[in-house]
């Protein structure tokens, strides 16, 4: 296992030293370090979004008995690159009667919210842009900022369809946020921490999804449903609902501004799956069963980042699977489902979980 603890600390140390030698100003050094971190993350995000879009298209295609992109590069792997270049070089149209400032700000808000949240995710031991002792709380707060971007986009577009979409988004995301947080809380009670790193460490002897009795499974199901809704994905994509609202809040956007919404959507999908993988499936922690050291040793041979990305992409696949299988709910059915079924269930789950945690009724060290 120690083989795979990456020596990121020494890299950071080296960078800090090098910067101090050349800049001689501690504040400047910190700023440059932050910029480097953000740059690395930005590069990662761009590549990740392209990969996710490619996967989405291929998954969709193969579920629909077709091949998907095949022309640009072998099996069309450069198709999303070509699409991105197209999107970035297109003319950026701002309609005449929009609220210009808000209109231009909205995609940034969406994108930044998704982007910042990603910096708290531990991809592997010591690979985490920011470590923060209330990381999960912070993520939940920041990622809900994205809804402001959507609301602003719908309002500023000066388009009735966009406004309908934005209002739906506001109602939907805020509602489903509740269930998502309640579901996560049930697990956080067991883990006893809000720090991502410690949440992962607490799963050294087994993942929370089964170690927390039924609570973990129920919480996972609730979180999966609620987070799908938060990402505005089918069956909860009433915000965009292309057959009803044509495109919802981003109807009037084009080129790079549209690309930002698009990017934010895929990053959000990755983000909720990453949170899910971290909280329920142990993040980068390999599959361990109690004290069966021999078996655990075999699993340890797989590098942690493979574990992490394997889990995340498996969950991403499930979310994509939803999208290409389910139709869309109607707006009132959606709200009824949340407030009448999902949230009470999450509350009960949390209550039962709290009782169990208080009386130690769960397996800490055994499978």
């Amino acid at each position: 296992m120690n083989n795979f603890i990456y020596k990121t600390d020494s890299m950071v140390e080296w960078l800090t030293n090098w910067l101090q030698q050349h800049l001689h100003n501690p504040l400047l050094v910190e700023i440059v370090k932050m910029l480097v971190g953000a740059g690395v993350l930005a590069g990662f995000v761009s590549v990740l979004a392209m990969v996710l879009i490619y996967i989405e298209r291929k998954v969709a295609a193969h579920m629909q008995q077709r091949l998907g992109p095949m022309r640009v590069g072998p099996h069309g792997i450069f198709q999303t690159v070509a699409d991105s270049i197209k999107l970035l070089t297109k003319e950026c149209i701002t309609p005449q009667d929009v609220d210009r400032f808000v209109f231009n700000l909205a995609p940034l808000v969406c994108f930044v919210a998704a982007f910042v949240s990603l910096s708290f995710i531990p991809f592997a031991p010591r690979i985490q842009a920011v470590n923060f002792n209330v990381g999960i709380l912070f993520i939940l707060g920041i990622s809900s900022l994205g809804v402001f971007g959507i609301l602003a986009a719908g309002w500023a577009s000066n388009n009735k369809w966009s406004l309908l979409g934005a209002m739906r988004a506001g109602a939907q995301i805020i509602s489903y946020e509740l269930s998502a947080v309640l579901a996560l809380l049930a697990i956080l009670i067991f883990a006893g921490t809000l720090d991502f790193k410690e949440i992962v460490e607490s799963q050294r002897n087994g993942w929370w999804i089964w170690r927390a009795h039924g609570i973990g499974i129920v919480a996972f199901l609730i979180y999966t449903i609620a987070s799908t809704a938060e990402c505005n994905r089918t069956p909860f994509d009433i915000v965009e609902g292309e057959s009803e609202l044509t495109a919802g809040f981003h109807t009037e956007y084009s080129a790079i501004k549209f690309a930002m919404f698009f990017l934010a959507e895929f990053i959000n999908v990755f983000l909720v799956c990453a949170i899910s993988a971290t909280v329920f499936f142990g993040g980068w922690m390999p599959f361990h069963i109690g004290d069966m050291t021999a078996l655990n040793g075999i699993f340890d041979l797989v590098p942690p980042f493979v574990w992490f990305f394997g889990k995340v992409f498996a969950l991403v696949f499930v979310v994509m699977w939803f999208r290409w299988t389910f139709p869309r709910l109607r707006v009132d059915q959606l709200m009824r489902f949340e407030w009448k079924y999902l949230m009470p269930l999450a509350l009960i789950n949390l209550g039962v979980g709290a009782v169990l945690a208080a009386y130690g009724g769960f397996f800490f060290n055994k499978f």
Binding site: L164, T234, G241, E242, E244, L245, W324, F326
Partner: protein, 377 residues
Amino acid sequence: MSAPTTDTKAKSPTYQDYFINMGPQHPSTHGVLRMIVKLSGETVLGLTPHLGYVHRGIEKMTEAQTAVQITHLTDRLDYLSAHMNNWAWSMTVEQALGIAVPERAEYLRVIMSELTRIASHQLWWGVFGMDLGAFTPFLYGFRDREMINDIFEKSCGSRLTMNYICPGGVTQDVTGEFEGETRRFVEYFKPIIEEYETLVSGNVIIQERTKGVGILPADRAKAYGCTGPVLRASGVDYDLRKNHPYGVYPRFDFRTAVSPEGDSWARYIVRLEEMRQSLKIITQALDQMPKEGPVRTKLPPTLKIPKGRYMARGETARGEIAFFLVGNDSPKPYRVKIRTPCFSNLSAFPEIIKGWRVADIVTVLSTFDVVVPDIDR
């Protein structure tokens, strides 16, 4: 199921009705249908269709063309029921001129029409899924429709506007592979309908979205002259193939798909059942069809339509198409009125959509299965 609600509270001094313009460029209006929707929140208070975006004046054009030339125009009415439109017009002309149709041609007409009905319902099924937000059924529907299109391509040389059935029979005999290919399609498609059922019908969300939504009561459906699956889903057992038999339909054993509920779900299952019945008809027609023989009666070089009124009615995939023909002893009709199913079906739509949500406009319109060129002519 939420019952239809009507808005009563929105009467504050600053209140303004929220109007949205749905179409003519909208993904779910299936063409260029435009509707002005009056909303309160998401609830529909009123809906006004504005038609005519693909009005081509076909009725005016008919006055300048001969009976055979008009057959080409009928393809363009409801392009998904091209064969049935051809057939209805051919029947009108045959009735006016007293032309007999060879038996083999009669069977070919039935087979082609039923294949068209299946193809049309396949496309509808796919689009219905897409309107409800599920993209996958669309491609499944098109996958199977492709096989029918291939059969049409081999027999008629065309895939959409076939112009195959013509006054006096059909334009040409089918190729030798036709029977085998059609039988193979029937065998292939029987289990596929069950696949359709498992993919879409059993889905809880589909049922939530359709059951009890957009109920069209039988008396209103009759009053508006709704026909086809829309009428039959309201519990009226009325199918021209049974109730006003034409061609060789009386020789086949099939039943009319009827469902009493009148909601979107009923319209959905009626169409699925119709596909099964069409398969039954095709098999029987292939068995009974004379293996050889003429397929077209020799027509005089000019068809003078005698003085008087003639009318023929046919059951398309969407309902009843009727051609009302007034002749005046000249090759060109004096007046042709085309009664199209979608026009009448759509006229019932504004009434039943009141009180439902924006998303239900899409659902109900989809189950009405309108084809805009058929409405606008």
